[in-house]
Structure formats: structure tokens, C-alpha cells
């Protein structure tokens, strides 16, 4: 009789598991957690890469943040972009999903068309819109044809931000459209039939049955869209460079300018901390709202 081996199935399984998770764990620690701790530490430093200086300055960067005359404008631009994007994106996504949910031939074809910008390279999409939105570009050419003198979309304070929002809405609305379409198809048909028998109008049916039943999807997509909108960078960088003035300088773009154009890395780190806190607050809010939803479902 042989002695039982040390390597039982269970022990072997455990070893396999640790080997399997090591790369992912290393990545999470090295490229997410360590830099997150460091960003807080750096925000307490003055760091000039050109002068090769790195000095502890305590809360000085945070004082600078409080005194920064641009910062309120940056927060405003960020909020404007995020809220504008969420409202337009979700509204349009819902409209498209409702249209595609009709019993029509060829909806698959339209679904592909509406979704196609999602897979067009972000920079290609942004560049062609930048081209169309030039003062003498395609959009104003179309407006000219119907006798409207269009503005210089990307260079006027009143239209620059709205233009950037629109470009981004058409780029990614297809994703939310597909999610809404799935939600709509999950609404039980007998509810609709019952409401129709009771003589409810299509609008009442939509408001009283469809909207409440797809509200979890609306919440989810709005959170995903807001968090995604906070990361916008390429569009701003290509279309407006944050201008005119600071009207389109959103937080990530400001962070980039401070850290990598003005070499104020300590201050850039401070702005990163602000960005993190905003994302964290939104995520906590999402958890709270999900909990309430679950409560209501019981």
C-alpha cells in the first residue's frame, strides 16, 4: 500500500487556481491599485519632469485647485457634456429601439446601419465630423441650400460643446439602442393586449407599461453612459482643443493639458483624484438606486 500523496486533487486544484489568477491579479495590482495609491501620493507633490524635481508640498495642489479660476468652468463643461450626452443618447436610443421593435421588414438592416458608427474607428469618425462641421463644411453647405446661414460650429462658444455632444451621440447610441431593444422584447405581450382591450392609447401604454418595465435598463444605460462620458478625450482634442476659451475643456482634457502640456504633474494628479472621486460617487449612487429597485420589485 502506498502512502497517500501530498498532492490531493483538492491541493492540485488550489495550485492551478493560484497559477491561473496570477497574471490577472498582477495586472490589477500593478496597473490599477498601485497607480491609484500613487496618484493620491503624487497629488501631494510638486513634480516637474523637465527640472527633474519632486518635492512634497502637502495640500498645496488642493489649495491651487480651490483657487483655480478655470476649475469651475471645467466642472461646468464636464457636467454639460455628460448630462447633454446622457439625455440625447438615451432619448435617441429609446426612439430607435421602439422603431426597430415594430413588426416591419428590414429592421435588421436598419439595426446594422444605426450600429455601424460604433465600429468605425473613433478618430476617423471624429475627423470626418470635424470636416463636416467646418465653417465651409458639409453641414453648412446643406443649410445654405435651404437658405440658412449656419454658424462656425466648432469655433463659436454657443455651438462648440453641443457639436461635440452630437458627434459622440451618433457614434455610440447604437449600443444603448441594442440594450433597449432587448429590454423592449422582454416586455410580456399579454400586458399590451390587456391594455389595448381596456382601450388605452399607445402613448398611455408606453408611459404606463413599457417605461416602468424597462426602467432598470434605463438606469443601467444612464450610469454606463455617464461614466463613459467622463472619459471623453479624443473628440475634444481633435474637434475643439478645449475651446473656444474653456467652453469645451472637460476634466480629462484639462488633466491632460496640466500634466502633459504644462508639465504640472502634481496638479494633474490632483485633478485625477477629483475624476476618481466623481466616478466613485456615481458608482455608489448606482448601487443605492439598484437596491431601491430590488426593494420595489418585492
Amino acid at each position: 500500500m502506498t502512502a497517500p500523496s501530498f498532492w490531493t486533487t483538492r491541493r492540485r486544484d488550489q495550485l492551478t487556481a493560484y497559477v491561473f489568477i496570477t497574471p490577472a491579479l498582477f495586472g490589477a495590482v500593478a496597473f490599477v491599485f498601485l497607480p491609484l495609491v500613487l496618484v493620491v501620493w503624487y497629488s501631494l507633490h510638486e513634480w516637474n519632469v523637465l527640472a527633474d524635481s519632486f518635492n512634497f508640498v502637502g495640500a498645496e495642489n488642493y489649495q491651487k485647485l480651490a483657487d483655480d479660476p478655470n476649475f469651475p468652468a471645467v466642472l461646468r463643461a464636464t457636467a454639460f457634456f455628460s448630462i447633454g450626452l446622457v439625455v440625447l443618447n438615451l432619448g435617441l436610443a429609446l426612439l430607435l429601439a421602439v422603431l426597430l421593435n415594430q413588426k416591419l421588414r428590414g429592421t435588421t438592416f436598419f439595426r446594422v446601419l444605426f450600429f455601424s458608427p460604433v465600429v468605425v474607428s473613433l478618430l476617423a469618425w471624429t475627423i470626418v465630423w470635424g470636416f463636416l462641421l467646418q465653417d465651409n463644411g458639409g453641414i453648412n453647405g446643406l443649410l445654405d441650400a435651404v437658405g440658412i446661414d449656419g454658424p462656425n460650429w466648432l469655433r463659436s462658444g454657443g455651438t462648440a460643446m453641443a457639436s461635440v455632444v452630437i458627434v459622440q451621440v451618433f457614434k455610440n447610441v447604437g449600443l444603448n439602442m441594442v440594450l433597449f431593444l432587448a429590454a423592449l422584447q422582454g416586455v410580456p405581450q399579454d400586458l399590451y393586449e390587456a391594455a389595448r382591450t381596456d382601450g388605452a392609447s399607445p402613448w398611455t401604454i408606453f408611459r404606463r407599461i413599457t417605461l416602468p418595465l424597462i426602467s432598470p435598463t434605463i438606469l443601467l444605460t444612464s450610469i454606463i453612459t455617464v461614466v463613459g462620458s467622463l472619459q471623453v478625450f479624443a473628440q475634444i482634442s481633435v474637434l475643439t482643443q478645449g475651446g473656444p476659451g474653456t467652453s469645451t475643456t472637460v476634466l480629462v482634457y484639462y488633466l491632460y493639458q496640466q500634466a502633459f502640456q504644462f508639465h504640472a504633474f502634481g496638479y494633474g494628479a490632483t485633478l485625477s483624484v477629483v475624476l476618481f472621486l466623481i466616478v466613485l460617487a456615481l458608482t455608489v449612487l448606482q448601487w443605492q438606486m439598484r437596491k431601491r429597485w430590488v426593494f420595489h420589485e418585492h
Binding site: I127, F131, L179
Partner: protein
């Protein structure tokens, strides 16, 4: 549904299509127009000029830049598939000490967008002498936040696999690594496909990181290269820029048309989990 309603609905759908389809159309057709004609509102070039498409390659080392983007996206995608499927499998199917705590650790990585950590990561890569190399563009997406999302998606998939399959394989004397490779992975093809599409596009579109890390033209990736087609006075050479943009967009669009179901469902699924 009455014919009148149908016509009405098709009318709305067609009008709504314009801002989705027109830009891509405009990008491709305008890339064949001479720069003098570029702002004429014609939907079709009056004469086809292939000069802008040629200029793309003479103004910049565009073939090299194309290769950079392609090889980086392929390496990142393959790497992410390996890392995420292994970790996702272990978290879903094996019970081990510290499992929940470690999974929670990985999961909170979903909360932290890569823009938050770019300043310290730049310092780390700078001190390692890896600025102006492709390493940050490969390592961060392959092991950082997008890979965390991929791990989560793979775990959610592996959790749904029936346990009997593995029991049966175990009776046949297969060990864990073999069960993973021969049983679980082949079944995970849809999830792997979704992760691959998402990861590839993420890498292909990466812009902030290249702008921060890369300064040599021969090391540029496509998104960065696309913004550089200007004349000596920093005026944009639209037709050349649009040619380069078309070359960046068309291959992905073709693959999308061929596999639209996988793209749409895969991206919607990964978007939902993120």
C-alpha cells in the same frame, strides 16, 4: 399595420439613418476628391483622384504606423484572452482560499478608469525607460482596466457551465488544466468572441495613451497618425486625412458587416457588464 403607417415608419427610419451613414459615406467619397474640390457638397467625386491615397504614404510612414496599430491590437487581444479566460475560469469553477477577497480586489478595478492612473503610470514607465516604446500600449490594456472587465465577463460565463461536464471529465482522469483547455474553453467560444471584439476595438481606438507615451513618428499608432496630416502652415490636408481615416475604418467595417450579429451582441453584452 396599415400601409400608410408602414410608409410613415420607413420614412422616419430613412431620415434617421442620415447622420449615421452619411459621415462614413462622405469620408470615403471625399477622400478621392482633389483638395480644391473638397468642400463641394457633391455626394460623388466629379473626377476620381487616387493622389490623396498615395500621399498618405509619402507624408508619413503610414504603412509602419498601420502595422504598429495592427500588431499591438492583436497582441493585446490574444494576451487578454489568455489572462482573462484563465482567471475567469479559476474564479468561477475552482474553490480556493481567499477566492472572494481576491475576486473583489480584481472587481474594484472596474471602478477605476485608466484616465485616473495615467499620471503615475507615466512616471513608472518613464523611470523604466519605456516611454516612446509600445510597451505601455500593450501592457496597460492587456493587464489593466479592460482586462479586468474581460476577466469579469469570462467568470460570468464560466459560472453558467453545468458541473456534470467537469465531473465526467474528472472521472476520465483529466486534471484541472486539461479540463479548462479541452472542456471549458471550447464551450466558451461566444464569450471569447465578445471579449476579442471588445478588446481589439479598444486597442485600435486607443488615443490618450499613445499621445502621452509616443513621440516618434515611426512608433505612432493609427489614431495618433490620423491627426498629423497637415501642410507646412498647420492647415489640414482634408483629402489626405480622410483617405487615411478611410483606410483605418474600412477593414473593421467589412469584418463588422460579415459578422454583424457577433459584433452587436458581443459589444452590447460587454458594454452592459462594464
Amino acid at each position: 399595420m396599415s400601409t400608410r403607417t408602414k410608409v410613415f415608419l420607413y420614412g422616419i427610419l430613412l431620415v434617421l439613418c442620415v447622420p449615421f451613414v452619411f459621415p462614413t459615406w462622405w469620408m470615403i467619397t471625399s477622400s478621392f476628391k482633389p483638395n480644391a474640390e473638397i468642400f463641394s457638397p457633391s455626394l460623388w467625386p466629379s473626377s476620381w483622384s487616387f493622389e490623396p491615397w498615395r500621399q498618405v504614404f509619402t507624408m508619413q510612414p503610414f504603412a509602419q504606423q498601420y502595422f504598429n496599430s495592427a500588431y499591438i491590437a492583436v497582441v493585446v487581444t490574444l494576451g487578454t484572452l489568455v489572462v482573462a479566460s484563465m482567471a475567469g475560469y479559476a474564479f468561477a469553477r475552482i474553490r480556493f482560499r481567499g477566492q472572494n477577497a481576491l475576486f473583489l480586489l480584481v472587481l474594484t478595478g472596474l471602478l477605476i478608469p485608466s484616465e485616473v492612473t495615467i499620471v503615475p503610470l507615466f512616471r513608472i514607465f518613464n523611470s523604466l525607460g519605456l516611454v516612446d516604446t509600445h510597451w505601455p500600449l500593450i501592457l496597460v490594456p492587456m493587464l489593466g482596466p479592460p482586462s479586468v472587465l474581460a476577466t469579469f465577463i469570462m467568470r460570468q460565463f464560466f459560472i453558467t457551465l453545468p458541473g456534470e461536464l467537469e465531473e465526467a471529465a474528472r472521472m476520465d482522469g483529466l486534471g484541472r488544466p486539461a479540463i479548462f483547455r479541452k472542456i471549458a474553453l471550447p464551450l466558451a467560444r461566444p464569450a471569447l468572441g465578445a471579449v476579442a471584439i471588445f478588446t481589439f476595438l479598444h486597442s485600435w481606438n486607443l488615443y490618450l495613451e499613445p499621445v502621452v507615451y509616443i513621440s516618434s513618428r515611426t512608433k505612432y499608432t493609427l489614431p495618433q497618425a490620423l491627426t498629423q496630416f497637415t501642410d507646412a502652415y498647420q492647415g489640414q490636408l482634408w483629402n489626405v486625412q480622410l483617405s487615411a481615416a478611410s483606410m483605418t475604418a474600412i477593414p473593421v467595417l467589412i469584418v463588422f458587416v460579415l459578422a454583424q450579429r457577433q459584433f452587436i451582441e458581443g459589444l452590447a453584452h460587454t458594454g452592459l457588464k462594464g
